[in-house]
């Protein structure tokens, strides 16, 4: 990659948000006009428990530079326990991702509630900055996400 491109490079991040907390949190950030980096594209899922580890692998393969999965805070799941189950699945996936050389910054998990618009903006800013630091994804990548 050319020096010039590096500067212009914008990470493409998939934000998988649960319908009840994090998606509403993102919504609140929007209506409150809180600024956050425009590098995420949101995929709304009914619950973070819906997220199959393969969703994450497949997003990386399809050209996303990073994935943020966000659900309700532990204990606050709309379906009572979906986020706990999600956490277990990530626990299996995480060492595997690390092993195959996907930087830990690239795939992140967070809990954001419907009332935390500000926090949502902070999380997105942090994730975007983290991924900006590690640069464009190289591992597994096949495709280019149309943006």
């Amino acid at each position: 990659m050319q020096e010039k491109d590096k500067k212009d490079w914008q990470p493409k991040i998939l934000a998988i948000l649960c319908n009840w907390c994090s998606y509403a949190g993102a919504d609140l950030a929007g209506v409150s006009r809180i600024q956050y980096p425009p590098n995420i594209r949101v995929l709304r899922v009914p619950c973070s428990g819906r997220v199959d580890p393969m969703f994450i692998m497949k997003s990386l393969q399809n050209g996303f530079d990073g994935v943020l999965v966000s659900g309700c805070h532990p204990g606050d799941c709309h379906y009572l326990s979906g986020n706990y189950n999600a956490r277990r699945k990530f626990a299996v996936l995480k060492p595997l991702l690390e092993y195959i050389g996907i930087e830990t910054e690239r795939v992140q998990f967070s809990w954001v509630s419907a009332g935390e618009g500000e926090r949502f903006a902070e999380v997105v800013t942090k994730v975007t900055n983290d991924i900006r630091k590690v640069g464009p994804a190289k591992r597994l990548v096949k495709g280019v996400v149309s943006w």
């Binding site: 393969m54 277990r88 990530f90 060492p95 967070s110």
Partner: protein, 365 residues
């Protein structure tokens, strides 16, 4: 102290006798056991309902033509009681399937040997069977690990069945040809075998099994060392899985992979030229068929914590990839995250269906 039943015949004959007894007294209406397919000497699993069919049965033969866990899913739940003779890892595989609602132990009487290991199908088909099994039993009787068995069998620590109703003592039994000991682990086992022989108190020989376990543990260490990737990470994996031809045979024969339509064979993994743009831009080359390694990564994240290490996948791999050894190693690591031992307890849920509130706090802030 458990109940023990002893017979004056060799182990193979005793098990067949017991099966015949169960059928004749109508305590069960069918038995699932290994049997000779025909005179050619190949083996298969058969569900037998007439006792004369048992003439061809060889229940303890150290061969696994299919992982019986899959077959058990086909024939359970059953209204009529059946008895099944399966290897410990097949039983564990079935327990894992039951947790996924792929069968039931209701009306099933399970018999399982302390397992000396399984001879790879390829070896069994190609070599002289008499010498092969003779050597095998010589070593099993002495409590040694047979030369000829699967690498994952040599490294298997769970050769004593975990949930069997009846355990057939095989490993380290000096008098295997003239005597057979059945350990009756459940009330069901005691009542079903009533009238077959005299029952006394007794148990497996802990010392012999313990010594044998130590040998297996040593083999396991050596196996894990031998499959260590030359380098860490994706490149190391490509070394090992690069040979994969993408036949998906390993998941077809896997006792855990039960999905009728594997994600990797679904439209989710349809390929097209536009998808490969970035890869071509980066590397200038594209491997075809694509996604063969991705398939293994996917299986690891989906089922590795339930891997019972039966070795069936290595057996069928046409490219000689040590799939089972790698999955056994990775499976132990993922299962350890949850203090989980696959196939140990049918009432325990698979790790991704349950949780503790106070765990993995480091995941997600």
């Amino acid at each position: 102290m458990s109940k023990m039943l002893t017979t004056d015949h060799g182990a193979d004959k005793s098990v067949v006798d017991l099966l015949r007894f169960l059928l004749d007294t109508e305590k069960v209406s069918g038995v699932l056991t290994l049997r000779k397919t025909n005179t050619s000497g190949s083996l298969d699993y058969g569900l037998l309902t007439r006792s004369q069919e048992l003439d061809r049965a060889v229940p303890l033969m150290p061969v696994m033509p299919a992982n019986a866990a899959q077959s058990l899913s086909l024939i359970t739940p059953t209204q009529k009681p059946i008895a099944v003779v399966v290897k410990p890892c097949e039983l564990r595989g079935f327990v894992e399937r039951i947790k996924r609602e792929q069968g039931s132990l209701d009306n099933v009487l399970t018999l399982s040997p302390t397992c000396g290991g399984v001879i790879p199908l390829d070896t069994y088909i190609k070599k002289s069977k008499d010498n092969l099994t003779k050597d095998y039993y010589k070593q099993v009787k002495a409590g040694e690990i047979p030369e000829s068995i699967r690498p994952t069998c040599k490294a298997c620590e769970y050769f004593v069945p975990m949930t069997a109703d009846i355990t057939v003592s095989v490993v380290g039994e000096q008098n295997l040809d003239s005597k057979c000991r059945f350990i009756l682990n459940s009330d069901k086992a005691v009542s079903m075998t009533e009238g077959f022989g005299s029952v006394e108190n007794g148990d497996l020989d802990a010392k012999i099994l313990d010594d044998h376990l130590k040998k297996r543990e040593k083999e396991k260490k050596a196996l894990f060392e031998s499959i260590k990737f030359k380098q860490d990470g994706l490149d190391g994996m490509i070394d090992v899985f690069g040979k994969c031809i993408g036949c998906h045979g390993c998941s077809r024969v896997c006792p855990i992979c039960y999905c009728l339509l594997c994600d990797f064979e679904s439209r989710n993994f349809d390929q097209n030229v536009s998808l490969f743009e970035k890869e071509l831009e980066q590397k200038g080359a594209l491997r075809l068929p694509p996604d063969t390694l991705f398939f293994h990564l996917g299986r690891m994240s989906h089922m590795s914590f339930s891997c019972v290490g039966c070795g069936q996948c290595t057996d069928v791999c046409p490219a000689d990839i040590p799939v089972a050894s790698v999955f056994k190693k990775i499976g132990e690591n993922t299962a350890a995250l949850f203090d989980y031992v696959p196939g140990k307890d049918v009432n325990e849920d698979i790790p991704v269906l349950v949780f503790k509130e106070e765990e993995f706090k480091e995941l997600g802030e």
